[in-house]
């Protein structure tokens, strides 16, 4: 019941916020296209930039006709497919959240009787790991989004709130997300002045370091700590194999996979029951 009420409140919130966010997103799109053209025109004045554009035709296209933006919007052109996927995920997620035991029991019954208890234990632990990872990620997303919006607003950058929300959302993807979020902010600031763009770049660098060296370690002390190299490898692999969706879900998949490997392979197959092996990447 709490889950259904929560989903209702969240849906209402999205319903109320959607028009304002859509309008600001439109504005963001126009500003981005404008800033890309402006950047192209400014770079075109320099000889080295002209040579670079001539040698790399892709780069010339990018700055000349804002093709990047049309490509980015092209990602969302299959709106129906994206909406269908979102609705599908929401419904499956809701049903799973209301009665998780029903589905877990059903899945476990497919296994041999002797292995069921162990599998239930491992699945519960994977669920806990995912929950802790999500809590940590949501906290970091909120902190990063709020700090970015505040910083951009203090610097006088237009669309500070939308860019803050975008940064917060993209922070769902560790390491790569904040970098992607910085690009539109710097481009928007470029429409004001190159100095403003430099300030915004500095702001993102400072926030990125604050996130990497202060916020993330603090949050991970109480949630889930994944080895950074493993996270990047998982992102690379799933990003190449499954595209955007793979990149988006690479880290939680790695977190869950780590539990399965440690419990089912290291402990059950190899018989390695050391404390190191049984910590399963969590440090609560």
């Amino acid at each position: 019941m709490v889950v259904a009420a929560l989903l209702l409140v969240m849906t209402l919130g999205v319903w109320l916020l959607a028009p304002a966010v859509a309008a600001q997103t439109d504005e963001l799109g126009q500003s981005l296209a404008q800033s890309i053209q402006q950047l192209g025109a400014q770079l075109g004045r320099y000889r080295w930039a002209q040579q670079l554009m001539a040698e790399a035709p892709g780069l010339g296209e990018f700055t000349r006709t804002s093709h990047l933006f049309s490509r980015v919007t092209g990602l969302f052109s299959t709106t129906l497919g994206v909406v269908a996927n979102v609705v599908l995920v929401a419904f499956i997620g809701l049903y799973l959240a209301i009665k998780p035991d029903l589905y877990m029991r059903g899945a476990i019954r497919l296994l041999p009787i002797g292995r069921r208890a162990r599998m239930r234990e491992v699945l519960s632990e994977a669920g806990d790991t995912l929950r802790h990872w999500l809590i940590g990620r949501v906290i970091l997303m909120l902190l990063n989004g709020a700090l970015t919006a505040l910083g951009l607003w203090l610097l006088g950058t237009p669309l500070a709130l939308t860019l803050g929300i975008l940064t917060g959302l993209l922070n769902f993807i560790p390491n790569i997300g904040p970098l992607l979020a910085g690009i539109p902010a710097v481009l928007i600031a470029w429409t004001q002045s190159p100095t403003q763009a430099l300030y915004v770049l500095l702001l993102y660098l400072v926030l990125q370091n604050l996130d990497g060296y202060v916020l993330t370690p603090l949050v991970q002390q109480r949630t889930v700590a994944l080895p950074p190299a493993l996270t990047i490898l998982a992102q690379l692999l799933l990003g190449i194999l499954a595209g955007t969706l793979g990149l988006l879900l690479a880290t939680p998949i790695a977190a869950a996979a780590l539990v399965f490997v440690k419990r089912l392979y290291l402990e059950d197959v190899l018989g390695d029951h050391r404390e190191e092996a049984s910590s399963a990447g969590t440090s609560e």
Binding site: M1, V2, L6, V89, I92, G93, A97, V138, L245, I253
Partner: protein, 82 residues
């Protein structure tokens, strides 16, 4: 005797080859299936993640607000009204 030995050895070898080819074919089939179903599997994982998030948030809220579980609504309503 030697012939029999050869015969049985060849039989074992053939059986092993069949098993190895079978395992390889199954693994290849599994990989192809995974490749084609990767998007669906990722969507299912996203749904599981959403479920974990909703469940966690719901449990947290229920702990904070002492919200009733299903079936206890009438009791909760009477208590909050009086």
């Amino acid at each position: 005797m030697g012939f029999d030995f050869m015969q049985s050895d060849l039989g074992t070898f053939a059986r092993r080859v069949c098993v190895a080819v079978g395992i390889f074919a199954l693994a290849a089939l599994l990989l192809v299936l995974l490749w084609y179903a990767s998007e669906v599997l990722l969507l299912v994982f996203a749904a599981v993640l959403l479920a974990v998030f909703l469940r966690g948030l719901g449990e947290m809220l229920a702990r904070l607000r002492r919200f009733p579980r299903a079936g206890h609504w009438a009791w909760w309503w009477r208590r909050s009204c009086w």
